[in-house]
Amino acid sequence: MKLVVAVLKPFKLDEVKEALKTLGVQGMTVAEAQGFGRQRGHTEVYRGAEYEVDFVPKIRIEVLVDDAQVNEVVDAIVATAATGKIGDGKVWVLPVDTVVRVRTGERGSDAI
């Protein structure tokens, strides 16, 4: 089992979600996040005072998948989230020791 984590541009969420549904992914978790990468931050002006904001709004997606499905899920995310411009985000994959479905107590792949 693997955990696919993706930090993406917020407006890409819908497309990515639809692509993952098409692949038969059973669930995902989304959180609003702030971050910076090579894309720079920006400045804001309040009452004549300038503020530098190093972090830009992102969404962070987490998807639990079987080993067999990892590549197509990662490919789907990258394909749908890419705009070709700086700040598109990143996707990374982590190994997962175990997964338990809280309601039933099922473990492992069954719980995904």
Binding site: T43, V45, Y46, R47, G48, A49, E50, Y51
Partner: protein, 539 residues
């Protein structure tokens, strides 16, 4: 009743009609009362009240950092309450009472119109005799005040009292913007009624209540001096005595909610229709002119600031909070002029005040003493400087044909008869129309001079008394500002509340016997403790 009724019934019917006819001639209020004037006065007052609560409260609470929002709201609501209590107990009569200490004004009449020497004239027309307005005669009797000597008031004392209260209330709330983020809640609760008594009461009587400056010819339509300039200067002095906010709070003064700031600012703008529209004291022609002039100046002030932000600022961006600043400059600038200038004058006043304040905001703020005093929201600029310039501009743009009070004609039985515009503008009978002779229309700088004298006084008096009061309060409370440890935390340390509590992170402790508490309810009804209905069955 049926037409075929008996003779007796017909007689009854005639009797009933006679009673009805008599009732139609009786009115449930005294003959001096005019329902239109009275209705507008209290409506306008309510508009002005809404400018404070929630208008200014929400605006200020939204443009301070999140950790200070509750503190601002608490001080706003407490300040509003404290001014009203002082107002009915003693201070209304200081500002608008019919008789001054020294007797220069007596029963609503200015008794010293002949030359009595300026010292005697000044001190006997300085402030009204304090007193309560709480009994029925005081509350419902016809308003009598030298605030208006041309035509008797058409409403009771309470209409004037409430209208003037909401002005008295908003003034300290305005300069809360200078001192927030470090002043003790207790210091604020002492400062507001004292300031209202000794600064506002005196200035209001001098310029509005028929006191010295009113008699000399200085005008302030709705408070460019008495309210805004006074608030700006007092806030600045109080901020200087208090010392600055924490360095971190000054460096990171991020607003917490621009949408709510828009709600507060919008209420402020439209509430100003009552602020300036109520000051002719009659629901007449000048009321409408003052309302339109107010909105016109505001629109110009707003757009001038936005344009200067977009073209002249370092960032070259049309900011929304800049627009709010420009809006306030327009509103404040037109306040002393609203019913004295025409539409062209209103455009000029709004544009000039906004441009001047924009320049001061961006450049004067880097010069001593402005650079050394932490006026948190810049009240000295948007209220102090805008109020000063607005008050001076009356002397330039005051249009002699824009009448605060014209003269309608009355027939022998006291009813209004046909009056032409020309008759309204020119004097008729015992009435003298009231308009301002501005420099632009008459070539005379006399009004400008009168405005300048009054401005100097208001600046001097506001600064002096605020300084003394802040020092006294500091002595009484062992310092008027919170310790740095409390300032680091803000709302939570002072009030035990935060503006945006997180439901999922908070858990109730020490559940007691408060009303509405589910546990105490179940105890009272003798039921055993159990989960609320619906909690079972979904395992």
């Amino acid at each position: 009743m049926a037409w075929w009724g008996s003779q007796d019934a017909l007689t009854d019917e005639r009797g009933a009609l006679a009673v009805l006819a008599a009732a139609a001639h009786a009115v449930p209020y005294p003959s001096w009362l005019n329902t239109g004037d009275n209705t507008w006065q209290v409506t306008a007052a309510t508009f002005v009240g809404l400018m404070s609560l929630p208008g200014l409260a929400v605006l200020y609470a939204s443009i301070v950092p999140k950790k200070w929002a509750v503190n601002v709201l608490a001080m706003m609501f407490a300040g509003f309450s404290l001014v009203l209590i002082a107002w009915v107990l003693w201070s209304y009569k200081m500002g608008f009472g019919s008789t001054s200490i020294g007797g220069g004004v007596h029963n609503g009449v200015q008794t010293q119109l002949s030359n009595v020497g300026w010292v005697k004239h000044f001190f006997e027309n300085l402030v009204g005799k304090p007193g309560q307005v709480l009994n029925s005669v005081n509350e419902q009797g016809q308003a009598v005040s030298a605030a208006n000597t041309a035509v008797p008031f058409h409403f009771p004392t309470d209409s004037l009292l409430y209208f003037q209260f909401v002005f008295a209330a908003i003034t300290p709330l305005l300069f809360l913007g200078s001192v927030l983020g470090r002043i003790k809640f207790s210091a604020w609760c002492l400062l507001v009624p004292l300031w209202s008594t000794f600064v506002y009461g005196v200035d209001a009587f001098l310029l509005w209540g028929g006191g010295y400056f009113a008699q000399e010819g200085s005008v302030d339509f709705s408070g460019g001096y008495v309210i805004h300039m006074s608030a700006g200067v007092s806030g600045f002095v109080a901020a200087w005595v208090l010392g600055p906010r924490l360095l971190r709070d000054r460096r990171n003064a991020l607003p917490n909610n621009l949408v709510m700031a828009a709600v507060g600012a919008g209420i402020l703008w439209l509430g100003w229709n009552g602020f300036n529209g109520g000051d002719p004291y009659y629901a007449g022609a000048d009321m409408a002119a003052a309302v339109v002039n107010t909105n016109l100046a505001t629109a110009c002030g707003l757009m001038v600031w936005v344009a200067m932000d977009a073209w002249l600022s370092k960032e070259r961006k049309p900011t929304f909070l800049g627009a709010v600043n420009g809006m306030i400059c327009g509103l404040v600038g037109i306040t002393p002029c609203a019913g004295f200038v025409n539409g062209w004058g209103a455009i000029a006043v709004g544009a000039i005040c906004s441009a001047v304040v924009w320049i001061c905001w961006n450049f004067l703020s880097k010069v001593r003493p402005f650079s050394k005093v932490d006026d948190a929201l810049g009240v000295i600029y948007t209220h102090g400087i805008a109020g000063f310039f607005g008050g001076m501009l009356v002397g330039i743009f005051g249009d002699p044909n824009t009448l605060e009070l014209g003269c309608g004609n009355l027939n022998a039985s006291g009813q209004v008869i046909n009056t032409t515009q020309q008759q309204y503008i020119t004097a008729h009978g015992g009435c003298t129309p009231f308009g301002i002779n501005g420099l632009m229309y008459t070539g005379s700088a006399h009004q400008l001079w009168e405005q300048f004298r009054a401005a100097l006084w208001v600046i001097f008096w506001s600064a002096l008394v605020t300084f003394i009061l802040m020092k006294l309060i500091g002595l009484v409370l062992g310092g008027a500002r919170y310790s740095d440890a409390i300032l680091e935390v803000g709302d939570l340390a002072i009030h035990g509340e935060e503006a945006f509590p997180e439901e999922t992170l908070a858990q109730r402790i020490g559940v007691g016997s408060m009303a509405g508490d589910p546990e105490s309810t179940s105890l009272a009804s003798g039921e055993p403790d159990r989960a609320p209905p619906g909690a079972e069955g979904e395992h």
